[in-house]
């Protein structure tokens, strides 16, 4: 393998990107836009849903619980008339309303606590905070002799860990993988469609030199992107990190190299850029669904868990979360496995790319 020829390919790619400002914007602005949106969605919104409270109780218990609900941070309690409740659920101004019936206190004295909880029902995610707030508020009914004071400890993270910390750790790698894959597959296909690949194949270039030259060029860009994404996540979005930043960066490097070579490999199976883009729903979307970013793998149906177990993105996401949320390092066997599998996938796709790049047209 000639370093001179590999460097020529890498240099040419970097020249191309220097002239191609749109692609540079995709690589360096798009991740910040996506991460900012994610951050704002999770941390910027008013997470407490509006819940109506109608107290018809003739005793003191209803007022006590209603008062506790008003103080809850999980919901935004609004006093309503019970007769208006259903209409407000229908027009979407409330996700639920709670009625304390006239005999609420009387029943409570007989050890039956029976509030009426009316849920809108079409948004499963909105029910949990209502029920949680209700449970907390009912604790206020306990007699002063009994104080509910659980002692909570956290093995990892802490009470301030939120959804952005959980998703952000995985998104750092995913965004890099996705954008680098798209840019590589389209760039490599353009070599074919503009006829330059034929010219390269009629030169002394070895197939391995083409793949390594491409890999280096894209990896240089991907690493700049990785640093940008990492700094933005840690210092602007303040995504939680307990681990070594270099380990996170290491995972990003492996994901970038995988994405480049997967793009080169799959470009062999497309004839046009349009066909290349069709690999996104075929190759990327199933991995995103099954790699544990959105749904924990342990809650997937068993048959899909087998699929998740063979997807490289699963191990990349798991590794990044272990480092950032649990402070894992390379002495952890689980992290060794994650890093090993992602590195193994890198090597596999490098050889797949070299193996499928045909010198001959026919």
């Amino acid at each position: 393998m000639s370093g001179h020829r590999v460097a020529a390919i890498t240099r040419r790619l970097l020249h191309q990107f220097r002239h191609d400002r749109r692609t540079l914007a995709l690589l360096f602005v798009a991740p910040l836009v996506i991460l900012s949106l994610l951050g704002y969605l999770i941390r910027g919104g008013t997470s407490a849903p509006d819940v109506g409270v109608a107290n018809q109780d003739q005793g003191p218990a209803g007022a006590t619980v209603a008062s506790a609900l008003e103080k809850s941070s999980k919901i935004h309690a609004v006093t309503i008339n019970a007769a208006d409740g259903d209409a407000k659920l229908k027009d979407g101004s409330l996700v639920a309303y709670i009625v304390f019936p006239p005999a609420f206190s009387q029943l409570a004295q007989q050890s039956t606590i029976a509030p009426e909880i009316h849920l809108e029902g079409s948004q499963p995610g909105a029910q949990a905070p209502v029920l949680q707030a209700m449970q907390d508020a009912l604790a206020s009914l306990a007699s002063s002799a009994i104080r509910f004071q659980p002692h909570i400890t956290y093995l990892h993270g802490g009470p301030n860990l939120d959804q952005l910390d959980y998703f952000g750790a995985a998104f750092i790698g995913l965004i890099l993988f996705f954008l680098v894959f798209v840019v590589t597959i389209v760039s490599f296909l353009r070599e074919r469609s503009q006829g330059t690949l034929e010219r390269l194949m009629a030169s002394p270039l070895r197939r391995g030199e083409i793949v390594v030259g491409y890999m280096l060029g894209f990896t240089i860009l991907a690493l700049v992107q990785a640093v940008e994404v990492l700094l933005f996540s840690l210092y602007v979005l303040k995504v939680h990190n307990e681990g070594n930043v270099l380990l996170i960066f290491g995972f990003e490097v492996l994901m970038a190299i995988s994405a480049v070579n997967l793009g080169i490999f799959l470009s062999m199976f497309a004839r046009t850029e349009f066909q290349a883009v069709q690999f996104i729903p075929l190759v990327i979307v199933p991995q995103v669904l099954l790699c544990g970013i959105l749904f924990p793998i342990s809650t997937e149906p068993q048959s899909l868990q087998y699929v998740s177990d063979v997807l490289p993105l699963t191990y990349a996401v798991n590794g990044l979360r272990d480092v950032m949320l649990k402070g894992a390092d390379l002495t952890w066997p689980s992290l060794q496995l994650d890093a090993g599998i992602v590195a193994g996938f890198c090597v596999l796709v490098i050889f797949a790319g070299i193996g499928t790049l045909r010198r001959r047209i026919a």
């Binding site: 010198r359 047209i361 026919a362």
Partner: protein, 238 residues
């Protein structure tokens, strides 16, 4: 293998499905010669050039380039190949394209010289996407010349090039041939065919006739090369 011939194609057959693109073709191009491949569209000219450069594997027969049986990567550093369509990187400059193609052939490249030949010195910093079709064709030729090849394969190199520059191209080809470079060029243009030292007339993947322009005319019994071309390829001039 002997280097007596720069290109030695021996009984090459290549089929694509039921289409026989090359049908037992044999031709030899001498060192320092300008050899013109003539033939109508689809006659097999491009397939033959691709087989010579090793991009197409013959079903049978052999191809040798500069004494090396193809495919042979090492000999490709001595071969310049210009594809029919200008195969260039549109989003980098003319000079960056030239330096790249020189570098992958392991040469420093005579960038200034080839820019002068194709008259693109003023546009050396221009991004290729901003050039006209003719300029791209000139840039593509420059990329094939930049590493000083011993064998130049040109697939219809003057398409879209204005007549004046075409004359200059051919003057340069003649100078290169005089300096020892072998040129195998496919063309439709009879005026260009006249400038070749020998011609090979191809149709249906077969070599129908071969010789100097005078020999080809004599074989067809006419003074006009175009008529000879039509006659020998089984067409009429009417």
């Amino acid at each position: 293998m002997s280097e007596a011939f720069a290109v030695d194609v021996d009984n090459v057959v290549k089929s694509f499905g039921t289409l026989r693109a090359l049908d037992g073709i044999t031709l030899r191009v001498r060192q320092g010669e300008i050899y013109g491949l003539l033939g109508p569209n689809g006659s097999g000219k491009t397939t033959l050039i691709r087989a010579v450069v090793g991009l197409i594997a013959p079903d049978s027969g052999t191809v040798a380039v500069l004494g090396h049986r193809m495919p042979d990567l090492n000999i490709l550093s001595s071969v310049g190949y210009m594809t029919q369509a200008a195969a260039l990187y549109p989003d980098i400059s003319v000079e960056e394209n030239l330096r790249f193609f020189a570098a992958i052939s392991g040469a420093d490249g005579n960038v200034d010289e080839v820019l002068r030949v194709v008259e693109l010195e003023q546009r050396r910093k221009s991004v290729v996407a901003t050039l006209s079709g003719g300029m791209r064709q000139r840039c593509s030729l420059a990329c094939a010349l930049v590493h000083r090849p011993r064998l130049l394969l040109l697939d219809e190199p003057t398409v879209g090039v204005d007549p004046q520059l075409r004359v200059q191209f051919w003057e340069h080809f003649r100078e290169m041939a005089a300096a020892g470079t072998t040129i195998l060029v496919s063309s439709h243009v009879m005026d260009e065919a006249e400038r070749c030292q020998r011609l090979g007339l191809i149709r249906f993947g077969k070599l129908l006739a071969e010789g100097s322009p005078n020999e080809v005319r004599a074989a067809a019994g006419t003074n006009n090369l175009e008529e000879a071309f039509l006659k020998l390829s089984g067409r009429t001039s009417e």
